[in-house]
Symmetry: C2
Subunit: 133 residues, 2 copies
């Protein structure tokens, strides 16, 4: 299983060649259309999920049912996302956070399987407050 197919290579290329790190399934789909190498949306979703399971891509749920995928960076720590209302997304890491959460899960007799931390922001001089996400 996991054959070396054209759609899979194209999707990986998009991530490798994109200047933007975080891509939604739709971003990937449209970038492939632009490149005149369209891949069906269903395939994009299937491949992204497979890549996630294979550890080739990391999925991040940004809330409201939206996920972005990204190529893991070498030796990278788990990180959170800071999402600005202007569409920009940046990353951050909080040292010791994972250990702290693990401790909390253990206190319930559970084991931590993952976590997501997303901060929402707006441009500082923007009075429009209706986007507290």
């Amino acid at each position: 299983m996991f054959r070396n197919t054209v759609p899979r290579m194209l999707i990986l290329d998009v991530f490798r060649e994109s200047t933007v790190r975080h891509l939604t399934a739709d971003d990937v789909y449209r970038m492939l259309v632009e490149r005149q190498q369209p891949v069906g949306m269903a395939t994009v979703y299937k491949v992204l999920s497979q890549f996630e399971q294979a550890g080739i891509l990391q999925r991040n749920d940004l809330g409201q049912g939206r996920s972005v995928f990204e190529l893991p960076m070498e030796g990278e720590e788990e990180h959170g996302h800071l999402v600005c209302s202007n569409g920009e997304v940046s990353e951050f890491t909080l040292p010791g956070l994972k250990e702290e959460l693990s401790r909390l899960a253990n206190a319930h007799g559970w084991r931590l399987t993952g976590y997501v931390i997303t901060a929402y922001a707006a441009p500082a001089f923007n009075n429009n407050d209706n986007d507290t996400h």
Copy 2:
């Protein structure tokens, strides 16, 4: 605006009388049906959103497009959620987290408008690993 209506009171009662703190719109809807006091699903959603805006309820996005609502507790700090694969949800607070995130947002010239932190866990003696969420 914001009239004192039956559906609104019923929905608030559900939260006040529920032993479970975090309720989805669907939870609320079904609890009202059980009580023989059904309220339309559209109304449930509308009222929950209004209550959120009014600060009567807090909304938490648990990822995958699902939100839970809860009654804010007196003098309560912002908190994260620890979601176990068995359906249980518990809360936790990480002192100083908000300040840290505010600092990060400021570094981008943004201001923090909110954040969500959700940790996922599984019962400790459960080998089934396919729910890393």
